[in-house]
C-alpha cells in the first residue's frame, strides 16, 4: 500500500501543472459501466412468502400427501410379517440347551426345532430373514475390519491382508477372508417344514440366489484367480477365519457360483448393518406356480442348526418371514408420516386462509375511513 502512495497521479487533489492537465482529456473516464451486473440489477425473481403465496402450496401438499399416506399405510398393512425368536433364553424353549453350550464351531452341531403356526396365508414371494439384536455390526472397530481388495480377488491382498483386519489378520498363515466381520459370519442353518393337517411334514424349498446386491456379487466380491470352480489351489497359502468351521472355498460346495468370496450369505453378512438390531435376508421362498399360496396358513416347524452364540452379549436371534409390496417392506411409519404432514399442511392452510382473509379485510378497513 505504501508504495502506491508515491504514485504521482494521485499526489495532490488538484491537477496543477499544465503538462498534467493536457493529459486529462486523453484519460479514460473512471465512470463505471452501466451494466445490469455491476449495478446490481440483474433480472431476478423475487418471491415473498406470504399467506397468499403459500396457501396453494399448503393445500396442494395436503391434497397430495394424504392420499399417498393412506396408500402407503394400506400397502404396509397388507404386508404380512411373521417373527419368531429362537434364541432359547427361557428354560422351556426348545433351543435352551443349544444356547447354553457355548460352541462356535463344534464338530457336532446342536439342532433344535421350533414350531409355529401362521394365521394367514403368505402369498407371492416370501422372504426369510434372520434377525439379530444387540449385535453391534456398526462398531467402528468392526466396520473397518475388512479388506475389500482381498474380497475383490486381489492376489497380493489375499496373502497380505490389510492391517485393518487386526487382530483377525493372520493365524500363522494369512486369513482369508480376514477381519472381524468375516470372522463372525452368521452360521446358523434354518430350514422350514410345513405340517399338513394329517401330520406329514414337507420341507419348503428355500432359494439362496439373489439375496445379495447384484453389484456386490458380480463386481465388488470376486474370487482370486477368477476361476470359481477350483478354489483350493488359490487359497492354499491362506487359512480359514478362526471361528469358521470350514474354509471359505467350502462355503457352498454344491454351487461353484456361490462359493468362496461370492457366497451370497457371506456377502450379505459383509454388508454391515446400520443399527444394533437388524435383520438380514436369508432365503427367498419363491411363489408357487400353482394357485396355492406360497405359505398357506397352518403349522410349521423351523429346524435350526444352532451354531451362533449370542447369549454372551444378551443378543437375540429371530427368524422372520415377510411378504413384499411395491414400496418395500413393512413400515407403517412412512404412511403415518405422510398422513400427518398432509393433514397438518391442510389444517395450516385453513388457518392461513383465515389469517389471509382477516388481513385482507383489515387492510381494506384501514382504507375506508380515510
Amino acid at each position: 500500500m505504501m508504495a502506491t502512495s508515491y504514485n504521482a497521479k494521485e499526489e495532490d487533489g488538484h491537477r496543477s501543472g499544465p503538462s498534467i492537465t493536457a493529459g486529462v482529456s486523453t484519460d479514460r473516464s473512471k465512470k463505471p459501466d452501466n451494466t445490469a451486473f455491476k449495478q446490481q440489477r440483474l433480472p431476478a425473481w423475487q418471491p415473498i412468502l406470504t399467506a397468499g403465496t403459500v396457501l396453494p402450496a399448503f393445500f396442494a401438499i395436503g391434497v397430495i400427501f394424504i392420499p399417498i399416506g393412506i396408500g402407503l399405510y394400506v400397502t404396509s398393512n397388507n404386508i404380512k410379517e411373521f417373527e419368531i425368536d429362537y434364541t432359547g433364553v427361557d428354560t422351556y424353549s426348545p433351543c435352551f440347551n443349544c444356547s447354553q453350550s457355548y460352541s462356535w464351531n463344534s464338530t457336532k452341531p446342536c439342532t433344535c426345532v421350533v414350531s409355529f403356526s401362521l394365521d394367514q396365508a403368505f402369498e407371492g414371494n416370501v422372504f426369510m430373514y434372520y434377525g439379530l439384536s444387540n449385535f453391534y455390526q456398526n462398531h467402528r472397530r468392526y466396520v473397518k475390519s475388512r479388506d475389500d481388495r482381498q474380497l475383490n480377488g486381489d492376489m497380493s491382498a489375499l496373502t497380505d491382508p490389510s492391517k485393518e483386519c487386526e487382530p483377525y489378520r493372520k493365524n500363522v498363515k494369512p486369513i482369508a477372508p480376514c477381519g472381524a466381520i468375516a470372522n463372525s459370519l452368521f452360521n446358523d442353518t434354518l430350514e422350514l417344514n410345513y405340517i399338513f393337517l394329517n401330520g406329514t411334514q414337507v420341507q419348503i424349498p428355500l432359494s439362496k440366489k439373489g439375496i445379495a446386491w447384484w453389484t456386490d456379487k458380480h463386481v465388488k466380491f470376486r474370487n482370486p484367480g477368477g476361476n470359481n470352480s477350483n478354489l483350493l489351489p488359490v487359497f492354499q497359502d491362506t487359512t480359514k477365519p478362526i471361528n469358521w468351521a470350514k474354509p471359505v472355498y467350502e462355503l457352498d460346495i454344491t454351487d461353484p457360483d456361490n462359493n468362496g468370496f461370492i457366497n451370497e450369505d457371506f456377502i450379505v453378512w459383509m454388508r454391515t448393518a446400520a443399527l444394533p438390531t437388524f435383520r438380514k435376508l436369508y432365503r427367498i421362498i419363491q411363489k408357487n406356480s400353482m394357485m396355492t399360496p406360497t405359505l398357506p396358513r397352518g403349522n410349521y416347524t423351523l429346524h435350526i442348526t444352532y451354531n451362533y452364540p449370542v447369549r454372551s452379549f444378551d443378543g437375540r436371534k429371530r427368524m422372520i418371514l415377510s411378504t413384499i409390496s411395491w414400496m418395500g417392506g413393512k413400515n407403517p411409519f412412512l404412511g403415518i408420516a405422510y398422513i400427518t404432514v398432509g393433514s397438518i399442511c391442510f389444517f395450516l392452510g385453513v388457518v392461513l386462509f383465515i389469517i389471509h382473509q382477516k388481513y385482507g379485510n383489515r387492510s381494506k378497513g384501514a382504507e375506508i375511513p380515510s
Binding site: G13, A44, L49, T272, L281, I324, V341
Partner: protein, 1248 residues
Amino acid sequence: MLRWIRQQLGFDPPHQSDTRTVYIANRFPQHGHYVPQKFADNRIISSKYTIWNFVPKNLFEQFRRIANFYFLIIFLVQLMIDTPTSPVTSGLPLFFVITVTAIKQGYEDWLRHKADNEVNGAPVFVVRSGSLVQTRSKNIRVGDIVRVAKDETFPADLVLLSSDRAEGTCHITTASLDGETNLKTHIAVPETAKSQSVSRLEALQAVVECQQPEADLYRFVGRITVTEQGEEIVRPLGPENLLLRGARLKNTKEIYGVAVYTGMESKMALNYKCKSQKRSAVEKSMNTFLIIYLGILLFEAILSTILKYAWQAENKWDEPFYNQKTEQEKNSSQILKFISDFLAFLVLYNFIIPISLYVTVEMQKFLGSFFIGWDLDLYHEESDQKAQVNTSDLNEELGQVEYVFTDKTGTLTENEMQFRECSINGIKYQEINGKLVPEGMTDDFPDGSVPHLSGEEELFLKAVSLCHTVQISYDQTDSPPTTFPYANGVSAQMEYYASSPDEKALVEATKRYKLLHVLEFDANRRRMSVILQTPSGEKMLFTKGAESSVLPYTKSGEIEKTRLHVDEFALKGLRTLVVGCRRFSTQEYEEVDRRLHEARTALQQREDRLTEVFAFIERDLELLGATGVEDKLQEKVQETIEALRLAGIKVWVLTGDKHETAVSVSLSCGHFHRTMNILELVQQKSDNEIKEDHVIQHGLVVDGSSLSLALREHEKLFMEVCRNCSAVLCCRMAPLQKAKVVRLLKTSPEKPITLAVGDGANDVSMIQEAHVGIGIMGKEGRQAVRNSDYAIARFKFLAKLLLVHGHFYYIRIATLVQYFFYKNVCFITPQFLYQFFCLFSQQTLYDSVYLTLYNICFTSLPILVYSLFEQLVHPHVLQSKPALYRDISKNSLLSFKTFLYWTLLGFCHAFIFFFGSYILMGEDTSLMGNGQVDKLFHSVTLLAFSFIFPFSSLSPCCACLQILKANRQLMFGNWTFGTLVFTVMVITVTLKLALETHFWTWMNHFVTWGSIAFYFIFSLFYGGIIWPFLHTQDMYFVFVQLLSSGSAWFAIIIIVLTCLFPDVIKKVLYRHLQPTSTQKSQASPPLQTSGGGVLGTQGCYRLVVVHHRKLLRLSGRPDQHVSNIPSLLTAWLHMQRLHTPGPTALCHLLWLTGIPVHIYTCFQCSSLSENDPYQETVIETYQGLSCVESLCCLSEGERGCGRLGQLVERVMGHCDPGRVSRSWSDPDPFYSNDRSVLTLSPVEATHC
C-alpha cells in the same frame, strides 16, 4: 526496527552515535580516523513477502489465525492417533482454505511488489564523479547529491544545497505527506546555495551532521560544515532545509540536495504505519459464535467420551467375542486411551466448526466490495471520481452505523470559497457584481467612477492582499499554453498556491512591498502575520486570523462594531477572518528582528522560543476589519442528513469553525431544525452546571474548550445529554479533539458503531479512530482518502453507501454467518446421534469423501452467491425509506436470539434427518428395494449413468439393469443409512437457503439447483467405480441402491418437507402478524400473488409509450405527444444523472411534461413497481383503469385526474374495489424523498 534488531544482534557497532555524519558526494576525509557508517539503501519495501519466503511466512501468518490453527491441530491429531476419519477429511478443506487465502494474499503482495518496483526503479539524476548520471531511485546512497527538477518528487530525504535561484530557495508541496496543499518555502544555507551547477558542486566540501532518522515530519536538527578555502563554516540546519521524500518540487526549475535519509529510513517511510486493523461488529459476533460452537464441540466430545466409558464398562459391550481388540489396543494405558478417545471424538465432531466460514467471508467481502466501486450512483461526473474501497473488511459495518461524525468544510460544503462581505472599520461592505459596495448602498455607481478609498479601506485591502502565503507561479514559457481555467478563474498563466483556500479567494495580486518576515500560521495561534516594509519605508505588521485569536490582542479600531459584523457574517454561514495591523517604530522593529532571528536560529527549544516571540510581536494590534467568505453547501446535503436521521443515525458535525458559522451552516444543511431547542455549551471556561430540559428535539452546540472541560469532568453527564440530543454540533475543534469525541462515543457503554466523514488532513485522526472512516475526495489533498476505509466524491453519496450498500452487505454477511453455523450443526449432529447407536465407537455416519466435500463442494456455492447478490428489498425502496435501516441496527441479525434460532433450527433439522431416517430404515427392512413401481426412478438413474459412463466398461450399466430387474428385498447397511441422512441433509440445507433468498438471479438458480444436481451426479459417479487407490469400497453402488428404493424417495421427500414447512409457517405468520418494516416495504402484502419486481427503465419506458398511445386513442385525440416522450425521457434522465429512475421520479417527469393523460402512466409505473410486473397484462385489459383516478392524484394534478376519471368511467362504467385495495399500498409510515411528487389523495380515492 531493523536497526534495533541489528543492534541486538550485534551487527551494528555498539558505539552507534545519536547523530549521523554525511559526507557530501561521499568525499570522505583523506586523513584521520574515519569510521564508515552503514546506511540503509534507498529501496522502499512495502511488500511482505519475497518469492523465497512467501510459503513459510504466509503459512505462519495464516496459522496465527485461531481457526486455521485449530484445524491444523485437528489435522495433526488425525495424523497421530487412530481416528475415525482419515486425515484427508480435515486436511483437504484446510489445504483448500489456506490455498485460496494464500492466492489472494500473494496477489495483493504482487501488486505491492509492482508498486515498489515502480518507485524503486524511477529514474533519478545523481551527481557522480563530476557529471550528472541517471540512475534508479533505489541506487541513491546517503551522501549522494541528487538533482530534482520541477514537479518531481524527492526520491529521498534531502538537505537542500542549492536551487536555481540565487538565494537558494525552493517551493515544495507536501500534499502527499500531510495533505497540506500550500507551497512551503525551503532554503539552502548560503554557503552551498551558490553551488548551482554540477561543476561547482564538485568543488563543494561539506559535511552534514544530523540526528538519526525519526518519524516526526517537522523536526530536523543538524548542522552543515562547509570547508571553504581551508576555513570551516558551520551552519545550523532545520526542517526548512530538509526536503522530505514524497514531497514535490514546485515553482523551482531544479534543486540539488544531498541525501541524508534514504529508503526505509526516510521520514515518510518511518511515518508509514500499518493501519490498525479495524474489525467489524459482525466479525466480533462471528468469533463469539465460534467460541460457543467450540464449547458445544467440547461438550459433545466430553459427553461422548464419558458415555463411551459408561456403556463400555462391561466387557460384553466393549469387547464381544466377535469384535476383539488388537494386542496394541489391549495394552495401551487407560489414560492414554481416554485421551485418544476424547481426541477421536473431537476429530469426529470437528466439522461443527465451519472451516470454510472464514474463506467464504473473505471472498464475499473481497468480491462484494466491487459493487461499491461499480455503483453509478456513487460516481461523481464533474470530478470523474467513483467510490473507492480501501478496506473490504468493513462492508457490513456500513449497515450498522449509529453515529456519523462529519467534518463541515469540504465535507458538507464544497470548499469553494467566494468572497462575499467584509467589514472595514466598522462599516459593512458587500461584493456585488465584482464591486465592493458599502452596506445600504446599491450598485448604482456609474461604471468608471472609481469610488475614493478611505485610508482605512486601503489599509484593510493592503492587509488582506499582503498578509498571506500565496505564491504566484508564472508558467514557464517552454510549456505549451493551455486554456485550463484555474479554480478561481484566474488565467492559466498565473497560478496561485496558498496554504488555505480562504486566502486564495482573497488575493488578487501582490504589490511592491518588501516582505521582511512571515510568522507562519499554526493551529494553536490560529493566525498568521507578515512584517513588511512599505514603499515609504515604514515597517508594518499585518495579522489575520480567527476572530477569537485576533480580537483579544487588538487595542484600537472599531472593535465592537467589527465583532458584531463578524457575528453577523457567521450567522449567514460565512467564514470569517479578522485583520489587524501594527506599526513598528525603528527600535521596535530592530528588537523584533533580533528576537525573531535568535529564535529562528536556536538549536534548542526552537518552537517554544518562536511561540514566545510571536506572542511578543502579535499584540497591541489595530483592528482593521473582517472578511466574510462563503463556502457553498454541497448539493443534497440536507436530504442526506435528513435521510440519515430517519435511519436512526445521529449526526454530529465536528468542525474547526467558529460557533456562529457552524450553527448557521448546521441550520442551512438541515442538521439543526428551526424547531429544535438548541442547547449551547460554549465559552465554558469554568465548571458550570449543565442543565437539561425536556424539549423533544434538542440540538447541542459545544465548542472545543467547553468540550474538553465537559469531557474532563462531566463525561457521563455530557454523554447523557448528547445521547438525548438529536443533533450535536461541535465547533472550534482541534483535529485530535475530533478523534477524542469519536473515541468517547465509541467507548460509551452502548458501544455504538461510529462513522467519520472528512476530507482533510485534520480529519485523519477522526477517520482512523471511528469504526468506519470515510474520506471525501475533496480539494484538500488525498490524505483523508488514503487513510479512510471508503472514499466517496460527495457527502450525498453517504446515504446510498449506508442505506443501500450497508444494508445489503449487512444482511448478506449476517445470513452468511448464521447459515454457516446452521449447516454445520445439521451436518454433524446426526453423527453425534449415531454414536448412541454404535456404542460410542466413533463410527462415522458419512463416508469420508462426503465429510470432506460437504463444506467445500456441496453447500459452498449457493451461500456465496447468495451473499453476493441478495437484495432483501429493492435498492430504491431502501433509499427512499431510510427507516428500514433501523431494522438491522444493533447487529440485530446476529443477536443472540437469532443465533439461537439458527442453531436450534440446525439441531431440530439434524434430529429430523437422523430419526426420520432411523424410523424409516427400521430394522433395515422398510427401505428395501422392490424394483417394480420404481421403474421411473430406475430409468432416471440409468440415464444419468449412461451420461456419466459413456465410454467406460459396461459393468455399471449392467449393474443398473440388474438392479432394475431386481424384485427382491435387499439389506442396506450402515453406509446406505448415512447416505440417506446425507442426501436429505444436502437437499434440506440447500433449500433452506433457497427459502432465505429473496432475489433469484439466474446465478442463484444455477448454483442452488446445480449444487443438488452436482451432489447427485457426484454420488453416482463416486459410487459407480471401484476406486483403485482406496482400500475400502464402502460406497460402491450404495447411492444407486438407495435411489432404487421407492420408499427412500418417499422418505427423502417427507423429511425435507417436514424440516422446511415449519420454517415457512413461521415466516408467513411473522410476516402477517408482526411484520418488520422491511417486510412491509418488500411489497404490499395483502393481495400480493406472485412476488414483487420493479420495472427497469426499459420496462417503464415501454409502458409509458404504450399506454400513452392507448389512452390518447381512447380519448379520441390524435397521437400527438408520443414522439416527444423518448427524447424527453432521455434528456431528463441525463439531467438527473439517473440511470434507473424510480417510478415516482418517472412520474415526476411525465407530470412535468404537462400532458394530462400521463397520470395514467404514472399510476402504472408506480403501482407496478410496488407490485409485480405481471400486472402489466392485467392493466392492458383495462381492468385496472376503472380505479385510475383514485390513484393518480398528484397533488397538483387534479384537473387531469378529473378528466381522466370521467373518461374512464365512460369507458368502463364500473369499478372493482379489489383493484383499489391492491393499488393502495399500506399507509406509508416512511419518509419518502419524493413525497412532494406523488401524493395519494384520500378524497380522490372515494371516487369509485
